[in-house]
Symmetry: C2
């Protein structure tokens, strides 16, 4: 059984079979009618499309509690996202090691990003400074930012921004709880 049906994928992913088929159809038609999708072929196609077969230079800016946790976050490593540059503004941390990466100072950020050829920055800094750090990262040639700060960042169109909104999610649950009491 090296094959999987759209219904099975939907079941796992919490969506519908039609949705799965429609989405996959945009990547070409490599399903076998009457059978389903070949698992090896499917993984290969998805890895390629998602760019998971390439290796991106990833830098972590902000080595506070969240940043440190992300540095060692297993799911990132498992999928091949290795953080090779770390920047922090705390002088006490600069020069120390995280794994085998030496923490660079905030004033060296642009240089560190450029010399490592970083394409992707994980931004784990306090909200008030997030926009400023993002601007500097963009100026240093970064093409994608994963923002963990609860702040609405503005970036140029050629830079991709991803947000991890822990606070918004929590507020969403608060909303649901408040509604639930009523209804």
């Amino acid at each position: 059984m090296a094959t999987v049906s759209s219904a099975a994928l939907a079941e796992r992913g919490g969506t519908t079979a039609a949705q799965v088929r429609k989405d996959l159809s945009y990547l070409g038609s490599f399903g076998k009618r009457g059978l389903g999708y070949s698992v090896p072929e499917l993984t290969q196609v998805l890895r390629r499309v998602l760019g998971l077969d390439s290796t991106w230079r990833v830098a972590l800016v902000g080595a506070g509690r969240i940043g440190t946790a992300l540095f060692e976050y297993e799911p990132f490593r498992k999928r091949g996202f290795a953080i090779t540059t770390v920047v922090d503004s705390d002088p006490a941390k600069v020069g120390s090691r995280m794994g085998n990466v030496v923490v660079r100072g905030d004033d060296e950020m642009e240089q560190a990003l450029r010399e490592s050829g970083t394409e992707l920055v994980i931004l784990a800094v306090p909200a008030p400074v997030a926009q400023n750090v993002a601007d500097r990262a963009v100026a240093a040639g970064v093409k994608a930012i994963l923002n963990f700060a609860p702040a609405q960042l503005r970036v140029p169109v050629d830079v991709t921004l991803g947000n991890v909104s822990m606070l918004l999610e929590l507020e969403g649950l608060s909303y649901a709880l408040a509604r639930g009491k009523k209804g």
Copy 2:
């Protein structure tokens, strides 16, 4: 100037004025034509609707790196989300203190959730055990779960599930980078 226009809100929030007006219109019509929205009134309404004037009992399950970081995450505290129960499966951690909260063992989880009257659980456990822990939390009366594990959880309809998908976001950026190289 204790008033703000939909255009100004849109500017800050990275959306459009029409969108802001449409959304706010569902909460009643408390804007003043020709002026905008009263800031105190707007904050009050939003706080009430989001349930931020209520205090929810929040428990943290999983006191690993991510969990510990969340426990001390400033934006949560600032908005009034205080974690008053912590559970971890590591015997070395059980009985130790985080702030002034004593860490409870995994086998005490249901009891700890029940005796604290927890409505909301922050789930910061490894993906393979996330569903099992979620099921147990639901059985213990939890009504909302904020899941940090890269896993698609299944919960009853009367339980609200929020996901913080760090890995998915990162994969999304990988996709954008891969596309960007081509186009």
